[in-house]
Amino acid sequence: MPFIPHTEDDVRHMLSAIGVERIDDLFDEIPPELRAGELQSVPEGMSEMEVTGLMHMRAREDGQPLCFVGAGAYEHHIPAAVWQITTRGEYYSAYTPYQAEASQGTLQLLYEYQSMMTALMAMDVSNASLYDGASGLAEAVLMAVRANRKSKSRRILMPRTLHPAYRKTVRTIVRNQGIELVELPFDLRTGKTDPNALQAHAGEDFAALAIPQPNFFGVLDDVDALTDFAHANGMLAIAVVNPLAMAVLKPPGEWGDAGADIACGEGQPLGAPLASGGPYFGFMCCKQAMVRQMPGRIIGKTVDLDGKTGYALTLQAREQHIRRSKATSNICTNQGLLVTAATIHMALLGGEGLARVAAACHANTTTLIERLTEIQGVERGFDSPVFHETVLKLAAPAADILRSLAAHNVLGGYRLSDDYPELGDAILVCATELRNAVDINEYATKLARIMATCAQVECPVEPKFN
């Protein structure tokens, strides 16, 4: 029997010790009328060999197209050591470290993670992770409403330049607590938050302003001015950042005169594979004064009975298993294994390595923009500096162009018209450090051919697989 070690003798011995005849007798407290019949939709079991064959087939169906899509999930090199160590059984198959003495490995690693994240963000404290960037922002919004004692409102300023899926997720999670999300429009020329629209809210009561950097369009916004605006108007500043970008960009703790109050975001670029969107991890850092309002697990350093250094879950009085209905969040399990990977990833790359990777992403994206905008009918969407992603406007239906590219095994970008109809036929493209000159050339060549055909005949172009 798969994953059940009992021999027939074992079963006989155990049943006789319990004093019943059959295993099914152990279910005699379930009312008979509730007992289930045979499962209908679950197929017969398979051997590992058979399932392996099935999964290889499924994987082959999807192929491995050349990916220029980012939009919140980025394909990076992950050192081989990261997942080889992360999937060691001692990390992979351990539980949340409630028994600290039997979990010092995970606990010390999490303390190291907190230390690395605070260094990367230039913030005081970090928690041990949340589910992902989007739900992490929702937790940051809830935290800001709790922590901002100056504000009586339950309103948050949310720029439209924030990832659309993040804004949707935040809405799902905070709406039942009477929190109002007020959208801030962006400047169609720069792709940054519209400073006039922001100024229109000066003097109003908001609990916080969310500040993405880079924003969803890849654009770098004037985060110093935004942070100072928030503080001048009694709002907390919530930084929503790409952690890899922070290796080369001014980190949230240094924004404006006083620094951001909360920094959160998607941890995926730090060692998590794309994997269809998860598991990733959300990170969250904040100023020391707000630590008791932070959701999620936090690890502290302490000593044992002999005075020896050790690590333990701390500030648990914030959490659901102690405070129940008065907890800061209902979060319990978070994303420990992804944090394990991220910690090893950051240790292997170091600050200099991360900065080099970030710079390589930026350089490749610069090349990509140059090559693609040489093509007739392709131009930049905004005239602002970007990190590793940019908006391109196409003189042809974006959906058709992307479909044709996909048929040629290139994922050419993320179509923006559903979320931003005002941008017309625009796509968001990204080149990480993995997209080298050969890849970029392949994309540019294929796009040029498709755009040319498109200009001559009516789209859509009939795709041909290569």
């Binding site: 798969p2 152990l26 999807d62 420990g336």
Partner: protein, 483 residues
């Protein structure tokens, strides 16, 4: 020693980053960081050695018996991990078009179908990232349902006092007041108390069955009828689904919404605290409110179902489609088990729990509910030991670590004094169970003869008992240069 303390300026894992640093030509200097972040500067081998050694300070399923009640610490088959880490599966971008996603979507669709079947629910959404997020989705759907009927006076969620802490915390996150009801001495919910709190203000009830005290709620059909009569809905916390897999289905018990913990019942790893996956299943009336995206099938192709197709959805819970990699592991596990294997899970989990309960009881340990059949877990109360020997459940727990057994869940549920919630799972062999009983008996003997040995345990782990008060009072949450 921390990885930071092994750091030396100028050292790196040189194979892992570009040899030259590219120019940040397009980024204004005012936006740039002045110094790279102060991360450790260590070699690749130092890193590998450090984190391998740290791992050896952990207990885990792969190394120890881990009978943590309510957590279902069973074997996590290695094939599930290996197949989820096939390059094309790891490399699939969440925004890949349907043309490059049929293999992945087929797995997700089939998982939805299998979970529908084992829970007896009408439809399943896989997106909640963990049990607590599944709970959130479930209660948010209950709220959306009442709102869609303009039934706005329902402000309360009923929760038994034995419930997991996430239940009341979730109800509050969804804007509800929590009404607690007591548990009877035999472990069942106090139905008279329930009748007393039910009313037009009742939005729903959150129940776990088998309950957190490790017994099957025998009057569940009556409870369901009472709650439905009052206009409320029933939420099923799937923490204990391992106990009943293939034997009885929450949908048949009358539940309207359920979350499953795939990191328990479907053997995906706990990972030292996540990632989990907490899919939700619902009865007919809650189908429109399920969180998106889900996977649909038109008989030929698989496709995503989003806000467009599901306009009444409670919305998205994460940026993409939840913890897809965890879902793939659960899918592989489900295919390995198949329909016969699913039933065997609950059968052998229950056999192991009842055997272990009987043996511990025979050794003189007090069961909290001796008149009841154990499910996949059961409670031992050490209140006699605490009173007569001044050796507490925590002392027993710490001493078990010395014997090479992870401690059961201690002090939960809160209503049983000095309790151990013990869940052996189906994957443990007879000799492991017997070894655990022997260790408990030896600790009992020690508690009688040399109680200090137990009260100061553990003695053989990397650290002895830690000063939690100091950890909270003198907060030290990160390494700083000069530490």
């Amino acid at each position: 020693m921390l990885i930071f303390e092994q750091s030396r300026g100028g050292r790196r894992a040189f194979a892992q980053a570009p040899a030259q640093k590219a120019e940040l030509s397009g980024i204004p200097e005012t936006m740039q960081r002045k110094q790279p972040p102060a991360l450790p500067e260590v070699s690749e081998m130092q890193t590998v050695r450090h984190y391998t050694r740290l791992s050896q300070k952990n207990f885990s399923i792969d190394t120890e018996f881990y009978p943590l009640g309510s957590c279902t610490m069973k074997y996590n088959p290695r094939a599930c991990n290996a197949l989820a880490m096939l390059p094309a599966i790891l490399g699939r971008h969440p925004h890949a078009p349907d043309s490059h996603s049929q293999g992945f979507l087929a797995c997700m669709y089939e998982l939805q179908e299998m979970l529908k079947d084992v829970t007896g629910m009408r439809q399943v959404s896989l997106v909640p990232a963990a049990g607590a997020q599944g709970e959130f989705a479930g209660v948010a759907m209950i709220r959306a349902y009442h709102e869609s009927r303009s039934d706005d006076a329902r402000t309360e969620i009923i929760v038994p006092d034995a419930a997991h802490g996430t239940n009341p915390a979730t109800a509050v996150m969804c804007g509800y007041k929590v009404r607690e009801i007591p548990t009877l001495d035999d472990g069942d919910v106090d139905v008279e108390a329930l009748k007393h709190v039910l009313g037009p203000q009742t939005a729903g009830i959150m129940l776990t069955n088998p309950s957190t005290v490790g017994v099957f709620e025998r009057r569940i059909t009556e409870i369901a009828a009472l709650v439905h009569e009052a206009g409320g809905l029933l939420y099923y916390d799937g923490a204990n689904l391992n106990a009943i897999l293939g034997k009885v289905r929450p949908g048949d018990m009358g539940f309207d919404v359920i979350h499953m913990n795939l990191h328990k019942t479907f053997s995906t790893p706990h990972g030292g605290g996540g990632p989990g996956a907490g899919p939700v299943g619902v009865s007919e009336r809650l189908v429109p409110f399920l969180p998106v995206p889900m996977v649909g099938f038109d008989g030929h192709d698989y496709h995503w179902l989003t806000e467009k197709e599901c306009p009444q959805t409670i919305g998205k819970l994460s940026a993409f489609a939840g913890n897809a990699g965890v879902l793939i592991r659960a899918y592989v596990y489900a295919r390995l088990l198949g329909r016969e294997g699913m039933v065997r899970v609950s059968e052998y989990a229950t056999l192991n729990a009842n055997y272990l309960a009987k043996r511990l009881s025979d050794e003189g340990f007090a069961l909290a509910y001796p008149a009841r059949r154990a499910t996949h877990e059961f409670i031992v109360t050490l209140k006699k030991q605490a009173k007569e020997l001044e050796v507490t459940a925590m002392d027993f727990a710490k001493r078990l670590l010395d014997y090479g057994y992870h401690a059961p869940t201690t002090y939960f549920p809160l209503l049983v004094p000095e309790c151990f919630l013990i869940e052996p799972t189906e994957s443990e062999a007879l000799h492991e169970l017997d070894g655990f009983v022997d260790a408990m008996a030896q600790i009992q003997a020690e508690a009688e003869d040399s109680p200090d040995r137990v009260k100061t345990a553990p003695h053989s782990l990397p650290v002895r008992r830690l000063d939690d008060v100091r950890a909270a009072r003198e907060l030290d949450l990160r390494w700083q240069a000069g530490d």
